[in-house]
């Protein structure tokens, strides 16, 4: 993988730090009129998710990280791995539990997810912004109640628990925003 000089630094550049692929979130060039130049950066480690601030000497080189985002459809899990497929090439790839992390509860068969690959291996799995899931269990709501009164918890087919309006019932399919984990609407029939 190529090395990047600090003057190539910009938001979105992927570099290696402490053996972990990282994303540069912010980069600021700092140069006192009469002094040494530095690049002050904010960096997200892509595996641990940790965010840190780090200063580089300007002109310094840093190893690039071979990180690639791919759009793959979720197929199934064998209990250990989560299998995804490229819908155009039909090539399949397996992500481990660590890569899927908490997003396990938003995986819906055939949904296209963003899989971040580092040296060809999945390190993170990002579900679509909205997924549709069936409610497997929720308290029957009071009749005549409408949205906006605080709602009630509902367990979905993947095990995820979200707050839903009182009028939504077990067996219904709802649309959930995976970024906030909030109920969006009933699914369109």
């Amino acid at each position: 993988m190529a090395n990047y000089s600090t003057n190539e630094f910009k938001a979105g550049l992927k570099i290696m730090l402490d053996g972990e692929p990282c994303n540069i979130m912010e980069n600021e060039y700092v140069k006192p009129g009469k002094g040494q130049a530095f690049n002050r950066t904010k960096i997200r480690k892509l595996i641990s998710g940790k965010v840190l601030e780090k200063t580089f000497r300007s002109g310094e080189s840093v190893e690039g990280a071979d990180v690639l985002d791919t759009e793959l459809a979720y197929l199934y899990t064998d209990g250990e791995f989560y299998h995804f497929m490229n819908n155009e090439t039909f090539e399949q790839i397996a992500a481990d539990e660590k890569a899927v992390g908490e997003n396990i509860k938003w995986l819906v068969e055939n949904d296209v997810c963003t899989i971040t690959l580092w040296n060809g291996t999945p390190i993170t799995v990002t579900p679509p912004n909205f997924v549709e899931l069936e409610i497997t269990e929720t308290d029957p709501g009071l009749k005549g109640d409408t949205a906006g009164t605080g709602g009630k918890p509902a367990t979905l087919s993947t095990g995820a628990v979200v707050r839903v309006p009182l009028f939504v019932q077990t067996g219904e399919v709802i649309k959930v925003d995976t970024r906030s984990g909030e109920y969006a609407s009933r699914a369109q029939k």
């Binding site: 003057n7 060039y29 006192p32 009469k34 002094g35 530095f38 780090k54 580089f56």
Partner: protein
């Protein structure tokens, strides 16, 4: 296949068109251009009222700055009388040429000009920028700070500025004494100040001070009104005199406002001997760092031999001043065409 080729050609021409269409345009709007014109006018008015003469000096020079952390653009002049091709440097500031005028009894002078620094672009930086530089015979740095403050009050409508000695600023905001702390003490201080940099012990003493100052002190000072920092460590004297009562500090000041380093001024070094020594020391540091030697400006040294009147001088970044005046967050917003569109 033919359709495919057509598509690729179309795509390429679309890309080219995109480049042509987007990048010719200025990154300023009309109100920004008006603000610049107005600012230039009020700067000229300021000096007209004070009987300071506007001058022009060449942007190209045979000699250049020796400072370890300044790099000049070089170009070649192929029509010199000698018949040889002559390397010329674009000025990093008009300081040397303006001092030659002072040595020729010019009296108080100012210049609005372009200066060039061969370094990265950034939020506060463009390699080509506009500088305001002025010199006041008979002033020391204290009196010049007062005049800089007046200029800021007139152009930015700021309240009278704060003044803080470098040592005091570092003690207050970083909890260290920049005049007595050891190199190790500075390195050990970095993690406490949340500064994360590899191999910090390899940085020079002054680089460590600058790193700490820019990370910790700069964001804490000059937020509501400008702040003058004066009496820099003698090792960062640049072209300022060493203070006669405290040789640990130099008669140098800087002005900070809302995170911008706005101006740098000196009670000007006049001794040709000491000036030559500083150039030599700089070039020795350049060798150590593996940088090319900077040809010393012999015209300046000859002028200093003839005699520089006691004077103070300051250089102020006009684009940064304009950013502060218009609330721009990136220098690009006040430049018609930044380096990426030059």
């Amino acid at each position: 296949m033919a359709a495919c080729l057509f598509n690729i050609t179309w795509l390429l021409s679309a890309v080219r068109q995109d480049f042509v269409c987007m990048n010719w345009q200025p990154t300023t709007d009309h109100s920004q251009r008006m603000a610049r014109a107005q600012l230039m006018r009020s700067i000229r008015e300021f000096f007209y009222q004070r009987d300071v003469l506007e001058v022009e000096t060449p942007l190209l020079s045979r000699g250049t700055v020796t400072d370890l952390h300044l790099s000049a653009f070089t170009c070649e002049f192929n029509f010199d009388d000698s018949g040889q091709s002559l390397p010329l440097y674009l000025q990093t500031s008009p300081e040397y040429a303006m001092k030659r005028l002072l040595c020729a009894q010019s009296g108080p002078i100012y210049q609005l000009c372009k200066a060039f620094r061969h370094e990265s672009a950034g939020r506060w930086h463009n390699p080509e920028f506009t500088m305001l530089e002025w010199y006041r015979p008979g002033f020391d740095h204290g009196r010049l700070m007062h005049e800089v403050d007046e200029l800021l009050q007139e152009t930015l409508h700021t309240a009278p500025a704060d003044r803080l000695a470098y040592q005091q600023a570092m003690q207050t905001y970083a909890g260290l004494d920049p005049l007595t702390a050891s190199h190790t003490a500075l390195v050990d201080k970095l993690p406490i100040l949340n500064i994360n940099i590899d191999n910090a012990s390899e940085l020079s003493y002054d680089s460590l001070l600058q790193l700490i100052f820019s990370t910790v002190v700069e964001p804490a000072i000059g937020q509501d009104k400008p702040c003058f920092i004066y009496s820099f460590p003698a090792s960062q004297a640049a072209l300022a005199r060493i203070n006669t009562t405290d040789p640990k500090v130099a008669d140098r000041f800087e002005v900070y406002f809302k995170g911008a380093e706005l101006a740098n001024g000196f009670f000007e070094l006049a001794s040709p001997h000491e000036q030559r020594e500083r150039f030599k020391q700089d070039n020795a540091l350049r060798s150590e760092a593996g940088y090319p030697q900077a040809p010393v400006d012999e015209h300046l040294l000859s002028a200093l031999e003839a005699g520089l009147p006691d004077c103070a001088g300051v250089a102020l970044g006009v684009d940064r001043l304009l950013m502060l005046k218009t609330g721009a967050s990136h220098i690009r917003q006040v430049l018609n065409f930044g380096i990426d569109r030059a």
